[in-house]
């Protein structure tokens, strides 16, 4: 028995990194993304203004890869590895949190595929200069619109459950009471994100800008 320095195994650190990366930067980026995109709720030009501001940030490629693409690839890839190590038994034990365990895997997969498509069509094909009219154009296709809604809801759900998981798994919500509160926080995040996300998508498809009056106010 030697009470020497602690050397946790790599897999421990990777797993911790997986859990953390879901919150920052991936979850934080999602919040930023919804926040910026909700400019469309004011008007198309306002959206273009906001997205141009983001499209012209300094060190753009570095920021995108370091804080968005690589973290998502890692989180999704390692997430699949985690999935393969587990064996869902929700049919035998249909308990609420066991359902969340199972859903978390499927919503993660849907979100991952969806994000891949989303980045391909709106970041890659547009050379990173996507505009309101291009997104609106894409949303006119009912399949793209449907996939967008599914993707937004799956991603939001995954983040909501993920916040609860994160708080439990880092021992930040350690008591049963705190874990219940963490679950409520996750539920609120999941619902609010789904709601705002759907509003944004609907805004593009129907050229509907509920906050347009902001522009005319003195």
């Amino acid at each position: 028995m030697s009470a020497t320095a602690t050397r946790p195994e790599t897999s421990y650190l990777l797993r911790k990194l997986h859990s953390l990366s879901g919150i920052v930067p991936v979850g934080a980026f999602l919040a930023e993304h919804f926040w910026s995109n909700s400019s469309v709720l004011v008007s198309g030009p306002k959206y273009d203004e906001t997205s141009q501001g983001l499209q012209t940030i300094p060190f753009r490629l570095f920021v995108e890869w370091a804080f968005i693409f690589l973290p998502i690839l890692f989180h999704g890839g390692y997430g699949i590895y985690i999935w393969l190590r587990g064996e869902s038994n929700v049919t035998q034990y249909p308990w609420m949190k066991n359902w969340l365990y199972t859903f978390q895997r499927y919503t993660g997969l849907v979100a991952f595929v969806y994000i891949g498509w989303h980045v391909y069509t709106q970041r890659w094909l547009t050379h990173g200069m996507s505009t309101y009219s291009e997104v609106a154009q894409q949303m006119r296709n009912p399949w793209a619109f449907g996939f967008m809604v599914v993707g937004v809801v799956a991603t939001s759900f995954h983040l909501g459950v993920g916040i609860w998981n994160f708080l439990c798994k880092w021992g930040l919500a350690a008591t049963v009471r705190a874990q219940r509160a963490a679950g409520q926080l996750g539920a609120v995040v999941g619902i609010v994100f789904s709601f705002v996300g759907i509003l944004i998508v609907v805004s593009f498809r129907y050229n509907w800008h509920p906050f347009a009056s902001y522009l005319t106010q003195k």
Binding site: Y12, V90, Y101, C168, W170, G171
Partner: protein, 250 residues
Amino acid sequence: MAEGKQVIVKVKRQASPKDAARWEEFALPWRPSMNVIICLRDIAEHPVTREGKQTNPVSYDSNCLEEVCGSCAMVINGKARMACSALVDQLEQPIRIEPLSKFPVIRDLTVDRQFMFDSLKRVKAWIPIDGTYNLGEGPRVSPEVQEKAYPLSRCITCGNCLEVCPQVNENNNFMGAAIFSQVRLFNMHPTGAMHAKERIEAVMGDGGIEDCANAQNCVKACPKEIPLTESLAEINRQAWKQALFGWLVG
């Protein structure tokens, strides 16, 4: 035998670790406050299947018959639970009795739970007080700590929390909730705390706390109502603190 009320029991049997499993059905005379262990004893007394075929007694583990020894965990009607506290009158019939699926079957319902005992050894789930001289009295434990420690000390290593955990399977070596709860118990004790770092180190190894995915089935299946999810959260916190600050501040 008088034609009274009957209890229909189906037992999943397996003659040896290598043999294939098969089901046998028994019809037993009902008695008041019968539990699953009594059913198995009745079968042993009169090992004849429902179709009248002679068979041998079912092999199973049990000892205390009051949910404290932890030896009688089985899957009863699809749920992991203690056979000695599974009352026949509260179970749907035919009662299906299977061995735990996460441990190797030795014979019938007897499984080998050595994995749990090995895990307890890995995390040093004890307080080392042996020495070459008298160490004197240990430090006092505050009532506050006692109150937290007592529920954890009730663990009977039955294996139900492993049985219901989606993360415990042949794809990994996840040790299961009970083990981490014991780490918490011994790290909480003032003498045990002297080896807290070693326990946490083991917890960050293969099959350690990282594999917990928060399905929280363990706490629902625990017959002793141990706050397992709180233990997991607590050990998770101790682990990342040690991982992060261990090399930073020692």
